[in-house]
């Protein structure tokens, strides 16, 4: 991997995040105005101080004008980008590199998605005219990710009931965390029995195994690291940014076994090298990962190196990733409970890292690992499905490395 990384060269100095949920009374424009305004206020600057913008949205607007119009920005560079469910992280990546290379002093990454205006159940793909000759336009996202479950169960000798328990445990944990997050879409704890007995959506996935379909927006302001203390006493430094697009051969190549995301493994390896991490489970204070469906979070624990191969189900069951576990995962409730407005999710993950590393998370969901001295957080964002996805991993920290 030929990335050089920009470790400690830029920092986040302000963030904003709207509540996620069914915002019947607010448009994508409204959500953008809210998150952008919150971020600039957080950094103590005016919107005119931002030199360039990266807007991430999958389908809630096209072109830079999707941001410049609602805010009436004055002749500023606005890049509109899309990278499936990793769109928000991709916006951050663009803003960080622009500042790191010296092109701009202050850049903003903002993500937004307005999913609830469509009236459809679940996500609606943006169709490209096709020949009707593969399953991509037919299969839904939960069905696509549910392909992981039978394969994982078969490979590691779990019965379907045992695997269902593990999946329920992940949903239960994320709902416990979401119940402690006023911005989350779902703020109630859900019992294991309720999760297990919910109507099925696809394969082994019940309603509670699926992330929330919601509206929302999040934004971050990025400056050079040496300038960061002009804006805040507690900047969050970028340690690593890695994005990979896979070769899209998992549905072609008989070597792929549906128990891993090779793209995640590759992006994690790259990010850990950039950040100088050798033992992520011991070094990270928390991880925000792409729990679009519960089997995804299970497999991510192995792909990100938090659990050994075939062991994640045991670690999940033992509570290793709970709020008070050895490595809290998705302390804000994750996609599962916080909700998943596609273009905003990557920046929402970063928002939780921002709060936790700065000690600003509400006490009831503050992870103990930060007080215990850990200073690094990971965000992981993916788009696509098993065998064909894009994967993003970032590492951020509350202190520059020595």
């Amino acid at each position: 991997m030929a990335s050089h990384g920009i470790r400690d060269r830029v920092a986040i100095v302000g963030m904003g995040c709207t509540p996620f949920g069914e915002h019947w009374d607010r448009s994508a424009d409204d959500l953008l105005i809210d998150s952008v305004s919150a971020a600039v206020a957080d950094a103590g600057i005016g919107l005119e101080d931002v030199d360039a913008f990266w807007l991430g949205t999958q389908a809630s607007g096209v072109s830079g004008m999707a941001l410049s119009r609602p805010l009436h920005l004055d002749y500023k560079p606005v890049t509109r980008i899309e990278n499936m469910c990793a769109t928000g992280s991709e916006a951050l990546r663009g803003a960080c590199y622009a500042v790191a290379c010296g092109a701009y002093d202050v850049a903003m990454a903002v993500g937004v998605e307005k999913l609830k205006d469509s009236g459809m159940s679940g996500l609606v793909s943006t169709a490209v005219p096709g020949a009707g000759d593969d399953s991509r336009g037919e299969i839904t996202a939960p069905a696509n990710f549910s392909l992981l479950a039978p394969a994982y169960a078969a490979k590691y000798g779990l019965g379907p009931d045992a695997l269902k328990d593990v999946m329920a445990r992940i949903a239960w944990k994320n709902h416990v965390n979401g119940a402690r997050n006023p911005r989350a879409q779902f703020r109630k704890e859900v019992s294991l029995a309720q999760i297990r007995d919910a109507p099925t959506v696809a394969g082994m996935l019940g309603v509670f195994d699926c992330s929330g379909v919601s509206d929302g927006s999040a934004a971050a302001i990025v400056v050079r690291a040496e300038d960061a203390h002009r804006y805040t006493d507690k900047p969050i430094y970028i340690k690593a940014l890695s994005l990979v697009a896979g070769p899209v051969d998992g549905l072609v190549d008989t070597g792929y076994d549906f128990t891993t995301f090779p793209e995640v493994v590759a992006s994690a390896r790259d990010a850990y090298r950039q950040a100088g991490i050798t033992d992520p489970a011991a070094e990270l204070a928390l991880a925000e990962v792409h729990d679009c469906f519960t089997p995804t979070e299970l497999i991510l624990m192995e792909d990100l190196g938090f659990s050994a191969r075939g062991q994640a189900w045991k670690d999940v069951s033992a509570g290793a990733f709970d709020l008070d576990g050895a490595l809290p995962v998705n302390p804000d409730g994750g996609l599962k409970a916080f909700g998943h407005p596609i273009g905003a999710s990557g920046l929402r993950m970063m928002f939780e890292a921002w709060l936790q590393l700065r000690g600003e998370a509400p006490p009831e969901r503050t992870v103990g690992t930060v007080a215990a001295g850990r200073k690094l957080a990971l965000t992981h964002n993916l788009g696509g499905g098993p065998g064909e996805c894009v994967s993003f991993v970032s590492v951020v920290g509350s202190e520059p490395s020595a």
Partner: protein, 481 residues
């Protein structure tokens, strides 16, 4: 001398029990079951399924065909040639005249006679989907099926399996059965009106053909009579001087009268069983009468179809719900999922990928041998560019690697079963599993490919391939009670 070279039949997997119609509508119960084309089948897709086994493993025969006739009373499209889709799915030579012989049940025997008389190798495919208004005789007594026959000159590897001995056809303008374009059901005149007319027409045509052949009625070893006028067909069967033992089964109890396809299904069944030298007579009633006489050759026993009609009739689903049948035939408009309307296929991308989409032709890398489904210009294994050769995959079986049941996706028959298939000899593809229940979807299940009309969206039929469970021959289907 030219003659019949190969054949195949296709009876769809699904069955509707007549007692379930009666129970739903409060009418008197009929006996047995009828065959039902799947929600993802039409006459075009069933024609492909009937012709595939006839051409299987014989590229010489496939390449020799110069004329394709698709006979059906239920064409999937008007104005557009449905036989062109069959031609594409079978990967026939480009220089083939592919034609629809459409609209009437008589088209079936018409295509057979035209094929038998043709001076170029001809594939005649007969397919039909029969229904009527709920509670009608057509709905319960009819069924769905297809059959395919290749006529032409023999080659070293492909002998004549039945000689064409004689034929005759009479045409008669007659308001007996008719249907306006777009109507859901046929209309018929009072049944007794045409009975005597048909019996007379059949006698005249049969006498003409027998005289040409120099046969007596009593010489006939296999006598098949088809048509939608049940009383006339019964009268011809009984009253033509043919030996009782020569009357072929009409499959009324198991699959029903399959209309345009029925004479083909009966002929295929006869060819599954006939001994060398036996005399076969086919009679079809409808707007006249058509007769074709054939004689089985010594080569027949070694060249019978791989899936006999009797085996396909015996291998079937548990009887389906009558409500599902009505839904599949468009007579019960059920609430769809809260999902976007399915996408139709777009013409330019479909045309660019005809060999893949219609014939399931993948590609194989000449450098490293990796198979690609769908076709790919860059090898997923060794990254060689434009080093691919065609790799026909429609006959290759596979094993399910993982699967799911998609309860959210749009499908005319929820839930959608999706499997990831690894093919014998290499290659992987994810597709729908059809003719199956959730119990059939499991890791390790064996599957074969089948040509389907996956969906009709925006007024466009989408044809593509699905997997279906590889079912071994069974003596009987699942018991009902």
């Amino acid at each position: 001398m030219a003659g019949l070279l190969a054949y195949g039949a296709y009876v769809p997997y699904h069955r509707l029990a007549r007692q379930d119609i009666a129970a739903a509508l409060g009418t008197s119960a009929g006996r047995g079951t009828r065959s039902v084309a799947g929600y993802d089948e039409d006459t075009t897709s069933m024609a492909v399924e009937a012709a595939r086994p006839a051409l299987r493993g014989d590229s010489g025969l496939r390449g020799s065909i110069r004329h394709l006739l698709l006979a059906t009373a239920a064409p999937a499209y008007l104005d557009k040639t449905n036989a062109a889709a069959v031609h594409a799915a079978l990967a026939l030579d480009r220089h083939v005249l592919a034609l629809d012989v459409a609209a009437a049940v008589r088209s079936g025997i018409g295509a057979l006679i035209a094929g038998a008389r043709s001076d170029v190798p001809t594939l005649a495919v007969l397919a039909d989907i029969r229904t009527g208004r709920p509670g009608s005789t057509d709905e319960s007594a009819c069924g769905d099926a297809a059959a395919a026959f290749v006529f032409g000159a023999p080659s070293a590897t492909r002998p004549v399996i039945a000689e064409v001995v004689a034929h005759d056809a009479l045409s008669e303008e007659l308001l007996e059965r008719w249907r306006l374009p777009g109507a859901v059901a046929s209309r018929v005149w009072e049944e007794r009106f045409a009975e005597d007319i048909y019996v007379g027409l059949a006698r005249e045509a049969l006498d003409g053909a027998l005289s040409e052949a120099g046969w007596e009625a009593a010489d006939i070893d296999h006598f098949a009579v088809a048509g939608l006028h049940g009383r006339a067909c019964a009268a011809v069967r009984r009253g033509s001087g043919v030996r009782l033992a020569a009357l072929t089964p009409d499959f009324a109890d198991a699959i029903g009268n399959t209309g345009t396809a029925h004479i083909g299904v009966q002929l295929a069944d006869v060819l599954d069983r006939a001994r060398p030298g036996e005399k076969i007579a086919l009679v079809v009633l409808g707007d006249g009468a058509g007769v074709l006489l054939l004689r089985a050759t010594d080569a027949l026993p070694a060249h019978r179809a791989t899936r006999p009609v009797a085996e396909q009739i015996a291998s079937h689903s548990a009887p389906m719900a009558y409500a599902s049948f009505l839904s599949w035939r468009g007579m019960l408009d059920r609430e769809p999922p809260r999902r976007p309307d399915p996408e139709p296929p777009y013409a330019p991308p479909a045309h660019r990928r005809t060999a893949w989409k219609y014939a399931f032709t993948g590609s194989r890398c000449e450098k490293c041998g990796a198979r690609h489904l769908p076709v790919s210009r860059v090898c997923a294994s060794c990254r060689a560019v434009d080093a691919m050769v065609d790799e026909p995959m429609e006959q290759v079986h596979g094993t399910v690697v993982t699967f799911t049941v998609d309860r959210l996706a749009f499908t005319p028959s929820p839930p959608m079963l999706v499997v990831v298939v690894d093919y014998d000899g290499g290659g992987r593809f994810r597709c729908q599993l059809t003719d199956a229940t959730e119990a059939d979807a499991s890791v390790g299940a064996r599957v074969e490919m089948t040509f389907r009309r996956t969906v009709t969206a925006g007024g466009v039929h989408n044809y593509f391939w699905k997997a279906r469970p590889l079912r071994e021959a069974r003596a009987t289907g699942p018991a009902r009670d």
